[in-house]
Symmetry: C2
Subunit: 294 residues, 2 copies
């Protein structure tokens, strides 16, 4: 009997209560329906999470891909990671300049190298080797994501000026996968890497669960992120919900905020956050599509 497939998306934990997110809600709603249909038709979890994150990167609506944030040198650096829980294989890229599809370059690390993480200039070279698109005109490519004001572009301390997109999925064969991508923290120091590209912290999938995090990356690194959730479930017998909440409480103790989307092998979904909101959507075999921001 096929598993009850499910897909969950997040568009980042940085939200501005004064802004209109209807464009984001419409985008997430259409995307989560499309991904649910792909899963219903038999697509693999790893292909669907890559597709979902690539669509969010391409939209420019979120702080990832086209909506990425310039660092303190005015350059856009991207981080991304993807993991196939069925194969226990992951790929990640960090501090990479000039990628049109960061998540697809992370997928290339997963598929075509023995490594888990590639940084800096080496990422661009890998993208070129695999014929993946590079940004030829930065000014035309990048745009200001929804909810971010131009004056926040260089304010590192803005609670809004960070964002990440992510997707977790369970497919009809019971395989779990996760993908996460970020254009970073506005005004960050060049080369700064948060939790997003770190397999086990910002992104993780195995045979039991799939997790994608968003928020203040440094706090997630100190709190342990995705694998801390997995550890609380496997060593401490916490439920998926309780494990996600406990990890987020630790993020708060580390003076951070953010959120997490997670799915387990039974198709249970948690979408938890301790920030003012988290752009999110979910759909599945037994779930009507739903979208929320706050």
């Amino acid at each position: 009997m096929p598993h009850n497939h499910v897909i969950a998306l997040h568009g980042g934990a940085g939200v501005n209560p004064a802004r209109d997110y209807s464009e984001v809600e419409a985008h997430l709603g259409a995307l989560v329906r499309e991904c649910e249909e792909q899963l219903a038709a038999g697509a693999s979890a790893i292909d669907v999470v890559e597709h979902a994150v690539a669509a969010m990167e391409a939209s420019g609506l979120y702080v990832a891909g086209r909506g990425s944030a310039p660092n303190d040198r005015g350059e856009v650096e991207c981080d991304a990671a993807i993991m196939d829980g069925a194969r226990m294989r992951a790929g990640g890229i960090c501090a990479a300049i000039g990628l049109v599809h960061p998540i697809s370059v992370a997928r290339a690390v997963l598929e075509h190298t023995p490594h888990v993480l590639i940084a800096g200039d080496g990422v661009r070279r890998l993208a070129e080797e695999h014929g993946l698109a590079l940004v030829s005109n930065s000014a035309a490519h990048y745009r200001l994501p929804v909810g971010v004001e131009p004056e926040e572009l260089h304010r590192l301390d803005s609670g809004l000026a960070h964002g990440t997109v992510g997707a977790v999925a369970l497919d009809r064969q019971g395989r779990l996968a996760a993908a996460t991508s970020t254009g970073g923290l506005f005004g960050k120091r060049a080369g700064r890497v948060g939790d997003t590209p770190i397999t086990g912290i910002g992104n993780w999938a195995d045979s039991a669960l799939a997790v994608s995090c968003t928020g203040i990356g440094e706090a997630f690194i100190y709190a342990g992120g995705a694998r801390d959730i997995a550890a609380r479930m496997s060593y401490d017998d916490l439920s998926l919900d309780a494990a996600c909440q406990a990890m987020l409480e630790e993020v708060a103790r580390r003076r951070g905020d953010g959120g997490v989307i997670a799915i387990n092998a039974s198709g249970e979904v948690t979408m938890a956050f301790n920030s003012p909101g988290m752009k999110r959507a979910v759909a599945g075999a037994n779930r009507s599509p739903s979208v929320a921001i706050f």
Copy 2:
């Protein structure tokens, strides 16, 4: 009453049974004595682990600092991380070219930025800002570490051609710290980052334990590394020894090998490995200095 201070060092899990390691044994023995004396005199754990790793980097005897491995473009890229468990602050650098003291640049990330990890060109800029030395003549600076044959320089699959150095310490005030540094995997793809610079995986310190890992970094990332040891102790009530062994068994399941040095707040020390050997040394208030390779 002051705590019983202790220092443990590793010089990497890549060893060649056919080689003479007497130079390494002499170096580790002298260094662990020097670090023990610093701790006895009241030095902080964070200063002592930085000193220990900097001395190993400078020696050229290990695959870190001067003994680093060229990547597939012939460039030396370094990764390092350091964490002060008392302050719960960490700093790391990855895929960084041209650093004389990688661990001291990681310390600069810890002390002078709000970030935990800096990658690529941004690392060199940070080093320059803080007056940290850069390599001016690569040919004169780098040397072949002990136990590595010249023909292994470009063989990614060589079990010997990887290495990492690390130190964990408990000081008289009961503070724990860890530092880890690597010159990577011989013949690795440019930009490849393993577990070493990842706070929580290759390196970790908090109020309960300090951990430094060495081995096939990808397998440590899949196994969870340092924070998996911490999780097994705090969520599953395993001893330090049992937690380290359990994590290393998971590394083996991920087709990797390597080792770990760990200290807890009571001053217990574990130095475990599932590779043919691990260059290691330990000394403390209640421990005569000892050095071993196999």
